[in-house]
Every structure is written in C-alpha cells, then in structure tokens.
C-alpha cells in the first residue's frame, strides 16, 4: 500500500545514537513516524511519557480526550479520513481497558492505529499491583499485533514495527504496552524505520493468471455485478475501480464501509448492499451471473442467509487478506493482492460493454424503492420530521463535500443511504462492530486530520450519550465539527426490531432525554433545536456556515422505521420494502 506518511517523513529517520530516556525515545519514534497529533489521557504508569509530551509540545500536539474510549475513536476518525496511522495513548489498568472498544472497532474495520499504554514497573508484573491489568492478554484477540516492552532498548524497534504492521497490508490496530521502568531507563537511542517483518507478508503478489481468469468471466458475463468494500479505499484504488466500472459497464454496489469510493451520483453506482441497503442491488445479487467482490469480506450484514446468497453466480473475489478467501462465500476465482494493483492489471483485459438491459433492471427496481420508501423519507407529507429530509438538506447545503461521520442505529443507515458523496473517505462509520458512541469522538479526529473539510457527525440521541463527554474535547480544542443529533427519543433501531419481531414490546428502548441544547451550551458550543420542517433549512444553513463547533438537534418522528430491510437470517432477495 502506498503510504504518504512513510514517504514524506523518511528524512526524519534518526540514525545517530544519543543517550536518552525510554519516554523521550517514544516521542522521538513518534516524530520519526510523522506523528504530529495524538489522542490520550494521562495517569500514573504513563506519566514519564506525558512529561516528554510537555517538552515536545511544539512538535507534537496531544489532545486530551475526556475518556480513553473517546481517544481511541478520535484516533480512528483521524486514520479513516486520511489513511494515516492514528495514535492513542493511555495509562495502565482502566486507561488501557477503556481503549479496548476502539481497538476492537479498528480491528474489525481494518483501521490503522498504534495504541501506547503505560504499564506497572516490570518487577511488579503479575503481582496484581495498583492499576495492573494484563492488557496484552486482553487486547490479543482484537489487535493485529501487540507487544509488551520491559526494556528501554526495545522501544525503537518495537515502535517501528508497530507502525509498519498497523499501516501495511490489511491495516489494523497495534497495541504497545510499556512498563514504567522502561520509560525511565536511559539507553543509546537510534531509530530506523521498519521495512519488513520476516514472518509477515502484508501484500500477497497478484497472480496474473487469476486476473486473466477473472477477466474471462467478466467478459463473458451477461449480468455482472460489482460489490466493492473498504479495501478499495484502503488501497487507494478509487480511480482504478471507476475505470473498470466504466469500461465494462458494470452496475456497481457498495458495502457500508465502501461508501464514497465512487461518487453517489455516478450512473453505474447502484447503491448500498446489505440489511438496509438498496432494493435493486440486494434483489439482483440473486440474479447476476458474475459477482465481482472487491475489497469486501461478505459480512453477514451484507449477505443475509449464506445458503441463498448469489448461488446462481460465479464469484470473483479481489482480496488482500488470504484468510478472507472462501471464508463465507466460496469463490470461483480469487485474485489475491492489493486492489489498486490487481484492478490496474484487470483493466486492459476487459472488453468495453454497456449491459444496458441489465442496468435497466436496476433502474426499474430503484423506481419501486423510490415510490415505496425513498419518496416518503426525503419528501415527507406527514407532519413529523424524517431523518431522511435532514440528510437531504445537509446534502444540498454541503454540495456533497462534507465528510459524514455516523454513529450506530437508524440514523446511521439513513445517513449512509441518503448522503451524497462526491469525495472518497467521506463516510466514517463503525461498520463491523457497530459501536454506539463512535461518531462524536471520531468526528473530532476526522476534523483535526482534515481541517479543510466540513465534518458533520450524525448521531442518535442514544449514541450521543455514550461519549457525550467529548463535547469537552471539542470545546477545549476548538474543533469546528458540526454535530447533528437526530432525536427520536428512542433507541430507534432496537425499537424497530421490537416492533417488527417482538410484538412491539418496547423493553428499555424509550429515552427520557436531558436538554441537549443546554448541555451543548454548557460546553460553550453554539446550539439550536429544530422541531418544525419550516425551520430546518435555516438551521442547517446556520450550522454549515458557522465558524466554530455547532450542535444541531432535530426532533424527528419517534417511531419511523428504516426500510428496505433484510430480516436477519433471510435471503438478500427477500428484502422487505415495508
């Protein structure tokens, strides 16, 4: 994978030797890796590092989160919008365990993170010392790699390896746990970037014969369908994907994490697949003759019941991670390698085509979805506000240029369905883990990473309260994020399931909410609440044009549902429109 962070900062590699403390070495390593921004929270076992952060504060900006989970998600947001490695730092024990949700989220969504935790002094390891937790043991199943450092001399090599592993191949989170004595210890420091790990092959080489086999299938297909995922974004293969789509005239759909890799309005972009995806690509998954999966992993939220998933189709899988091949869906042709590389090899082998009849089927089904669902979502005639019309207003006023950061629930599905993306890396959401509380801190990281972009967080009233404390970070750091809470006074998505599958027994899903405006204002954030349709446009306008952070609460219909929907366990083609 191309890594601008690595290339640009190459000159920073330190080669001379100097006697310094372990904690200073940690900062020097971060600087050598091009890190100028990190998120964290101090505490006893990491204090030597914070002392160095103070000394280096002109070169590296530490953002004090209000909770370590917030720091981890902020680092994720930073990584997702930029492709660079996000860094989060915390103390031992509770500080470290509070990072875990963010780490698990990064693991399942392939987000490059380096997390550094302090640890009790090495002679206390295993003694149940104050704030000792086995964070290596705890984080093992949710990290791409982790390592405990007990000697200062190990710091440069391990940190270099951590960054290399986090960003290369299929990216992921790495945790480095450093004992306090190693932070104090002095040693002869020198730094060299990691160029490879002998037991680790990040990018399997693309076999041209596999590409040829794929091209053969695609060229002979009558009804080909592309489903792309985040792999396209991670490998920066957006242009190559677009070229393939356009040359071969293939209707193309995306998974939730693949959103924004191709502009929403592109004529061959046929929408999102999966549980709340669009009608046409879901139904026609079970009618296509060749399914071309690119950088996606056939998650169950995408496939529905595997026994009835695209059984009629030949399956081609472009994938960087060999463990994903045949994991959920048996492939006919697997093309291993980096998507950018394999798609550029594929392109010259493809015959130009238009597949216009096949494409018409998508248009026909879209018309059905439009009449049954989209029309009422975007142009409601009932009194209550819909989530969809809020998104539509944001589209109009941002001209599709905003990065949309979503939390988890109904608002997330609505946002991903209706946001109009013009630029890649514009949809930042917790896909694989579905972590409520993700959006507010992730938006902070995204905005700080890409200050030139508008970053709009779309959050439910439930998820907003899961990391609401990060309003403090926004205030202190003056991060001009735009926060939209779509308040339905319910844990909406769970309520929807209760309505549809549990006879409307609304067990613990109703929310008696506080005065969110007062809370936002308590953090000195400009805020406004909209309850009437007539006020929406102006409120969104005020938000989009505000200089500083802005909080907009929209009171939406309490019991609206998100459709289409594939009930869990059902087939993709049994997607329900009502």
């Amino acid at each position: 994978m191309k890594d601008t962070q690595t290339l640009n900062k190459e000159e920073k590699s330190v080669t001379t030797t100097e006697r310094i403390s372990g904690s200073e070495a940690i900062i020097r390593c971060l600087l050598a890796e091009g890190v100028d921004l990190l998120y964290g929270y101090p505490g006893g076992a990491i204090m030597p590092v914070y002392d160095e952060l103070y000394k280096f504060r002109d070169q590296i900006h530490h953002v004090l989160a209000r909770h370590e989970q917030g720091a981890a998600h902020a680092a994720q947001g930073y990584a997702r919008i930029s492709g660079k490695v996000g860094v989060a730092i915390a103390t031992s024990g509770p500080g470290a365990t509070n990072l875990i949700t963010g780490i698990a989220d990064a693991q399942i969504d392939s987000t490059p993170l380096v997390c550094i935790t302090g640890q009790v002094a090495s002679h206390l390891l295993g003694s149940d010392a104050f704030q000792e937790t086995d964070i290596i043991g705890i984080s093992t199943p949710v990290t791409k790699w982790n390592h405990q450092i007990t000697k200062a001399s190990q710091i440069p090599e391990v940190i270099a390896k951590a960054f290399y592993i986090a960003r290369s191949g299929r990216p992921g989170p790495v945790l480095i746990d450093i004992t306090k004595d190693a932070q104090f210890e002095e040693f002869d420091f020198s730094y060299e970037k990691c160029k490879g790990v002998r037991s680790y092959n990040p990018v399997p080489e693309t076999d041209i014969d596999d590409v040829k086999a794929a091209a053969l299938l695609i060229n002979s297909a009558k009804k080909p369908l592309i489903v792309w995922g985040q792999g396209v974004i991670l490998s920066e293969a957006e242009k190559e994907l677009m070229a393939v789509i356009e040359k071969a005239g293939i209707p193309s759909a995306w998974t939730i994490l693949g959103a924004s890799a191709v502009p929403t309005t592109h004529p061959l972009n046929v929408g999102m697949v999966g549980m709340h995806g669009n009608y046409a690509p879901n139904v026609l998954t079970n009618e296509c003759d060749v399914l071309i999966a690119i950088g996606m992993r056939f998650d169950d939220r995408v496939t529905g019941n595997l026994d009835t998933y695209a059984k009629q189709a030949k399956i081609i899988h472009f994938e960087i991670d060999p463990a994903e091949i045949d994991k959920n869906v048996k492939t006919d042709v697997a093309v291993l390698g980096d998507a950018k590389d394999s798609l550029s090899k594929l392109l010259p082998l493809l015959n130009p085509n238009s597949h216009s009849e096949w494409h018409q089927q998508f248009k026909d089904l879209y018309a059905i979805e439009y009449n049954k669902v989209i029309k009422d979502d975007l142009h409601p005639t009932k009194e209550g506000l819909t989530m969809g019309e809020v998104l539509k207003e944001i589209n109009v006023q941002s001209q599709g240029n905003a990065a949309i950061v979503t939390d988890v629930g109904q608002h997330q599905m609505i946002a991903c369905r209706y946001a109009e993306f013009t630029t890649t890396r514009s949809n930042i959401t917790s896909g694989g883990l579905g972590t409520m509380g993700f959006a507010l801190p992730a938006a902070i990281g995204a905005k700080m990473s890409a200050p030139e972009r508008d970053v709009v967080a779309i959050i439910g009233d439930g998820g907003f309260q899961m990391n609401i404390q990060e309003l403090g970070t926004i205030f202190q750091q003056k991060v001009p994020v735009k926060i939209v809470v779509l308040n339905n006074e319910f844990l909406g998505m769970v309520r929807q399931w209760q309505q549809l599958f549990f006879d409307k027994r609304y067990a613990s899903t109703e929310m008696i909410n506080p005065d969110f405006i007062a809370i936002a204002k308590g953090y000195y954030i400009d805020a406004q609440k909209v309850t009437k349709r007539t006020d929406l446009k102006k409120a969104v306008e005020e938000m989009m044009t505000s200089e500083g952070p802005y909080f907009l609460e929209v009171a939406v219909e309490k019991e609206d549902n998100v459709f289409p929907m594939i009930p869990s366990g059902a087939s993709v083609s049994d997607v329900r429109l009502e």
Binding site: I136, G137, T140, N146, Q148, Y200, P322, D326, K327
Partner: protein, 176 residues
Amino acid sequence: MSEEKKLYTVSVYTENNIGLLNRISAIFQRRHLNLDSINISTSEIENVSKWTIVLQLSEERVKKVIGQIEKQIEVIKAYYHTEEETIYQESCLFKIKSHLLFDERQIQNIIKESNARIVTVNKEFFVIEKSGRKEEIELLHRELSVFGIMQFTRSGRIAVTKDEMKISKMLEAFQH
C-alpha cells in the same frame, strides 16, 4: 469440499515469542474447537518454533483455521496434514509399584512386547516410558491398568511429514 470430520495434524512454524500461545489458542477458543493435543518445540531452524496441533475437523474448516493462524504476524507458515501424510509419535510415562515387577511376571513380558522401556527403578516404584502411536499407548495402558498404575501421563503428538515441507527452503533463507 468434504464436510466429513477427520483427524488433522496442523503444523505451525512461528517466531519464538511470548504471547503467541494466547493468540493462537484464541483462534480455537473463539470457534469452539477442542484440541486433541498441542505440542510446541524448537524446529529444524534456530529461533523458530514448531507447533503440532491435532484436532478433529472437516477439511473446509481446517483450511479456514489455517488461514486465521497464518494471518498472525509472527506465524511464518501453517500446514495441515492427514494421518496418511505424516509420521507421528506420542510418548507416555507409567509409574508403577516396584513389587509388581517381581510379583507379576507378566508385566515384564508386556514391557518387552510393547517395546516400552524401563527408565528407572527404586524400592517403591519403577517408571516405564513408551513412544508410539496413540493406539499402541492405549493398548499398553489397558494392559497395565489391570495391575494398578500409580501415575500416568501422555504427551501431545509430534509429527514430521512424509513429503518435504516447502517451509524448509523459506526458513533457510531466513538464516542468511
């Protein structure tokens, strides 16, 4: 691919690192896979560990497990083999009261016929060691349990493959 469960020997070559045991065992634990045995030792290459894991699984699942194992950063390579493709042994120890060696003449015959070996004898007990296949060890266990066994323990399987493992060349390259 066959859904039928079979006994597979999984061989994993890894870096010799603390923490890897946790990482590998988590792969099995998450999928509710029970291991028949696991053995970790040095390999033919310095600083490279070889794991021998035996488990009962369908070929389709064993392939997926191999994928998950190989995905771990410090795993160099993982393979799976059937019974026919490997030469394998287990080892066991029996601790038995010494007087039985003289009171029960038959014990000496059993030891001799099973190719077991007496490791040590003292006034109170003697220890027999036997290496072989699982069934041979089970047979010996059955035969000796008639007389009473003070302690018994059996090792995990260790195995080498009949065919060359492609790993050997890859590992050789590491040494340079």
